[in-house]
C-alpha cells in the first residue's frame, strides 16, 4: 500500500505541466482563476490547442483519435488542468456522447461525428430533462414519431446547459408509450440548425445565461441519427452516465478553489490583521481541506479499482458526487465570506458572490444529492 504515482505517471504529469505552462493562454487562465465567465471562444480555443497537441480527447482509443490514456493519466491531466486554471473540457461531447457513439453508434456516425468532436468543430449539448421529468427522467414525454425515413419530434427539453452555443444536441425521446417508461425511449442526435428548434434562455440566480429551455416543433430528424436500436435509449443513457463520472469529484477544481480561498483569506484584512490569522475562520477552511484530503484518496481508490478491473465506475461514484459538490459549495461560500460586506456588491468584475449562488447547482444537477443517496441505498447497500 502506498500513495505514490509511478515514475511513468510522474513523467506524464511533468509533461502535462510543461504543456500547460507553455500553451495555456494567459487571458483564459486569469478568467478561470478569478472565477470569471468563460465565453464560447475561450473554450473552443482551448479545445483546439489540446487537439493540436494530440490531447483533444486523451482517454479515447487511438483508433478514434485519442491517446489511449489510462484512468490515472486522465485523472492527472484533469487535475493539472484544473490547478493551472485551464477551462474544464465541456463534457457533453468528449465524455458523454462520444463514448456512446464509440460503443453503440454506427460506423458512419462514428466517422462523421467523432473527428468533429475532437477538433472542436461541433459543440454538443444534452437534451435530457423536461419540465415534468427531472429526477424521474424515465417519465420523459418528448415524442419522436416515425414518418418514413425521418422522426418528427415535438416537445420540450429544459435545464439544457450552454445549448445557445451548440451545433448538435443528443436527446432522449419517447418512441413508444406502452410498457415500462424505460422501454420506450430512443437516443437521437439532432442538428441544432433544424427548422422548428427554438432556444429560450433561462437566467439563473447569479444573473448568468448558462441554461436554456429548448422547444421542438415538428423537427424532422433522419432515422440515421438514431443511435443503435429504437426503444433502447435508456440503456445507452445509463452507459453514458457511467462515463460522465471519471472526474465526478472535481478534485482539481476543488484544490484550485481551496488555494484561492486561502489566498483571499490572507489578503483580507480584519482590524489590521489578515483574516487567515483568525483561528475561527481558518478552522472552517481547514474542515473543508480535510474533507478534500479524504475525498482525494477516496477518489484515487476508486480510480485504482477501475484501473485494476478495467471497468466503468460503479454506483460507489455517487459518494464522490455528493462529497465533491458539497466541498465546492462550501469553498464558494467561504470565498464570499472573506469579502465581508463588499460581497454584497453586484458588479461585473466581482464574480465571487455570483459563484456562491452559481454553485448551488452542483448538488442538484447530474443526479441530485438525494438521488445519489437513493442510488447508494439501492445499488451499494441493497436497501
Amino acid at each position: 500500500m502506498h500513495l505514490n504515482f509511478s515514475p511513468e505517471e510522474q513523467a506524464f504529469r511533468a509533461e502535462v505541466r510543461a504543456f500547460l505552462a507553455a500553451e495555456l493562454p494567459e487571458e483564459i487562465r486569469d478568467k478561470v482563476r478569478s472565477g470569471g465567465r468563460l465565453e464560447k471562444d475561450d473554450m473552443l480555443r482551448w479545445q483546439r490547442i489540446l487537439y493540436r497537441r494530440g490531447w483533444g480527447a486523451g482517454m479515447w482509443p487511438s483508433r478514434f483519435g485519442g491517446a489511449d490514456w489510462s484512468v490515472f493519466q486522465q485523472h492527472i491531466f484533469e487535475e493539472e488542468c484544473a490547478t493551472a486554471g485551464a477551462p474544464p473540457q465541456i463534457p457533453f461531447a468528449v465524455k458523454m456522447v462520444a463514448p456512446v457513439l464509440m460503443t453503440f453508434g454506427s460506423v458512419s456516425q462514428q466517422e462523421y461525428f467523432l473527428p468533429r468532436i475532437i477538433s472542436g468543430e461541433h459543440w454538443w449539448c444534452q437534451g435530457y430533462s423536461e419540465p415534468g421529468s427531472g429526477s424521474d427522467l424515465a417519465s420523459l414525454r418528448m415524442a419522436a414519431v416515425r414518418a418514413g425515413d425521418e422522426y418528427v419530434v415535438n416537445g420540450q427539453k429544459t435545464w439544457n446547459t450552454l445549448g445557445q452555443y451548440a451545433d448538435w444536441i443528443f436527446c432522449l425521446v419517447r418512441t413508444q408509450t406502452e410498457g415500462r417508461p424505460q422501454e420506450g425511449i430512443s437516443f437521437l442526435l439532432i442538428d441544432m440548425k433544424s427548422p422548428g428548434i427554438r432556444v429560450r434562455p433561462i437566467i439563473t440566480l447569479d444573473g448568468e445565461h448558462e441554461i436554456n429551455d429548448i422547444f421542438f416543433d415538428n423537427v424532422r430528424v433522419p432515422v440515421g441519427n438514431r443511435v443503435a436500436e429504437e426503444n433502447r435509449g435508456w440503456t445507452y443513457a445509463k452507459f453514458l452516465l457511467g462515463h460522465e463520472r471519471t472526474n465526478t469529484a472535481g478534485i482539481g477544481n476543488c484544490k484550485r478553489n481551496l488555494s484561492r480561498l486561502k489566498q483571499m483569506a490572507m489578503t483580507a484584512n480584519v482590524n489590521g490583521r489578515p483574516l487567515w490569522e483568525d483561528a475561527r475562520f481558518r478552522d472552517r477552511i481547514v474542515r473543508v481541506e480535510l474533507e478534500l484530503m479524504a475525498l482525494e484518496i477516496t477518489n484515487l481508490r476508486m480510480l485504482s479499482a477501475m484501473a485494476a478491473g478495467a471497468r466503468a465506475p460503479g454506483p460507489e461514484v455517487s459518494a464522490l458526487k455528493i462529497k465533491g459538490s458539497e466541498i465546492i459549495q462550501e469553498l464558494a461560500e467561504l470565498q464570499m465570506l472573506t469579502l465581508g460586506p463588499a460581497a454584497m456588491a453586484n458588479l461585473p468584475d466581482a464574480p465571487v458572490t455570483g459563484q456562491y449562488f452559481n454553485q448551488r447547482k452542483t448538488t442538484i444537477y447530474a443526479g441530485s444529492t438525494e438521488i445519489q443517496k437513493n442510488i447508494i441505498a439501492k445499488l451499494v447497500l441493497g436497501l
Binding site: M1, H2, L3, N4, F5, S6, E9, F72, W276, E277, A279, R282, D283, V286, R287, E289, L290, E291, M293, A294, L295, E296, I297, T298, L300, R301, S304, A305, E316, A319, I322, K323, E370, Q372, K373, N374, I376, A377, V380, L381, G382, L383
Partner: protein, 379 residues
C-alpha cells in the same frame, strides 16, 4: 499508487477474523471486560503465536520487520472484533518508541520479551491539567548519584494495571509546558515509591493513575538523550494515532454492517425499516463516512513511518481530526437507527459506539487535532 493489502496482510486479517469469530464473540468480550484482568491472557498468548506481538520490530530483536501498514491491517481487525488486549499500548506505542528511540541494550532486553508475550509496557505521558499536551510535564527528575529521582503524578495511563513497565515522562529542566527538558524513564511496576490506582475505561479496557514518590531509577533507564524526549514521544504517539485510525476504521466497518443488516431485518408498519428513505439516506451518509475514514486511515498509515516530522504531523493531525468527527457521526447515527436496541448494554451496537468515542478521546480528540493542523498553517 496501490491501495491493496499484500497477500500476507490479507491472510493475517483472515486468520484474525476467523479466530475472533470462534473465540472472541460478543458474549465472551463482555465477560472479559468485567473480569479482574479486563482482557484475555489466552488471547495475548495467541497474539504471540500469530506473530502479532513481533510484527513491527526488527528481526535482530525477534521481530518480523513489519511496517505501519502491517500494523494498520492488524488494528483494523482489533477494531472489528472490539479486542480488549493492550496491543496498542505495548506493541505499537511503547514497542514502537523503544524500537525507534531506545539504546540498543534496552531494545535487546525488551523487544524480544514483548514479542514473546512475556512483557507489557504502558506509556505515562499525561498529567492532571495538561489535557493532551505532551510537553505539559510537571513531574520532576532530579539527578542523584548515577541515577534519577522521579516525583509527581501521571493520569489516564492506558493499560496501566497489567503493565510490567511504564515509560514515564519527567522534567529535568525548564518549566511546565516548555518543549525542552523532558526525559523519558523506564520504570518497573514494582519500583519502590510507585503507586498505581487502576480503573476501567468506558469501553471496557483498563487504565490507571500513577503516583511517583521519590522513585529511584538508574541511568540505563533513561530512553534517549536526557531533556530531549519530546520529539521521541510525539513520534511514538503519532504512530499510535495512525493505528487508532485503523482501529476506528475496523469499528466503523463492523458497525455499518450491523446497522445495515438491522435495517434489512427489523420490520415496522409491516415492512423492513430499511425501505424508508429517511433511514436509507442516513445509512448512505454512514457508508460515505466509512469510505472517507478508510481513506484517512490509509493516509495516516503511509505517513506514520515518515522521517520528515512536519509531514508526519500534518498527515496524522488531519487523519485523527477527520476520523474523530466522522466516526462520532457514524456511532451516533448507528445508535439512532437501532432505536432502543442501540442504547442497551446487551447488544453490541452500544459497545461499538463507546469504543469509537474512546478512540476519539485517546491522545487528542478531533478538536485538538483540528487545531494542531490549523495552527501549523500559520506557524
Amino acid at each position: 499508487m496501490d491501495f491493496r493489502y499484500t497477500e500476507e496482510q490479507l491472510a493475517l486479517q483472515e486468520t484474525l477474523r476467523r479466530w475472533i469469530a470462534r473465540d472472541y464473540d460478543f458474549e465472551r468480550r463482555r465477560t472479559l471486560a468485567r473480569s479482574p484482568l479486563g482482557y484475555s491472557a489466552e488471547a495475548w498468548a495467541r497474539y504471540a503465536d500469530l506473530g502479532l506481538l513481533a510484527l513491527p520490530f526488527p528481526e535482530e530483536f525477534g521481530g518480523l520487520g513489519g511496517n505501519a501498514v502491517d500494523v494498520m491491517a492488524v488494528m483494523e481487525q482489533v477494531g472489528e472484533g472490539l479486542l480488549l488486549e493492550p496491543y496498542l499500548s505495548t506493541v505499537v506505542l511503547c514497542g514502537g518508541l523503544i524500537r525507534d528511540s531506545a539504546p540498543k541494550s534496552v531494545r535487546a532486553a525488551l523487544l524480544p520479551e514483548i514479542a514473546a508475550g512475556k512483557l507489557q509496557v504502558a506509556l505515562a505521558p499525561y498529567e492532571g491539567t495538561g489535557r493532551y499536551n505532551l510537553s505539559h510535564v510537571a513531574c520532576s527528575a532530579v539527578r542523584r548519584g548515577n541515577g534519577w529521582i522521579l516525583r509527581g503524578a501521571k493520569t489516564m495511563v492506558l493499560d496501566a494495571p497489567s503493565a510490567d513497565y511504564f515509560l514515564v515522562s519527567a522534567r529535568s529542566s525548564a518549566s511546565v509546558s516548555e518543549p525542552d527538558g523532558i526525559s523519558l524513564f523506564l520504570v518497573r511496576r514494582d519500583a519502590p515509591g510507585l503507586t498505581l490506582v487502576g480503573y476501567p475505561t468506558q469501553s471496557g479496557s483498563r487504565a490507571g493513575d500513577l503516583q511517583l514518590d521519590d522513585v529511584q531509577v538508574e541511568d540505563d533507564a533513561v530512553i534517549s538523550a536526557p531533556g530531549k524526549a519530546l520529539g521521541i514521544l510525539e513520534r511514538a504517539v503519532d504512530q499510535a494515532v495512525a493505528a487508532l485510525c485503523a482501529e476506528a476504521l475496523g469499528v466503523v466497518t463492523a458497525l455499518n454492517q450491523a446497522t445495515l443488516s438491522y435495517l434489512k431485518s427489523r420490520k415496522q408498519f409491516g415492512v423492513p425499516i430499511g425501505t424508508f428513505q429517511a433511514l436509507q439516506h442516513r445509512m448512505a451518509d454512514m457508508y460515505i463516512a466509512g469510505e472517507q475514514i478508510r481513506s484517512m486511515a490509509i493516509l495516516a498509515a503511509v505517513h506514520a513511518d515518515t522521517e520528515d516530522a512536519g509531514e508526519r504531523r500534518r498527515a496524522i493531525s488531519a487523519a485523527k481530526a477527520y476520523v474523530g468527527q466522522a466516526s462520532r457521526f457514524v456511532g451516533q447515527q448507528a445508535v439512532q437507527l437501532h432505536g432502543a436496541m442501540g442504547v442497551v448494554d446487551e447488544f453490541i451496537v452500544s459497545h461499538y459506539f463507546k469504543r469509537l468515542t474512546m478512540i476519539d478521546l485517546s491522545f487528542g480528540d478531533a478538536g485538538f487535532y483540528l487545531a494542531r493542523y490549523s495552527d501549523s498553517l500559520v506557524a
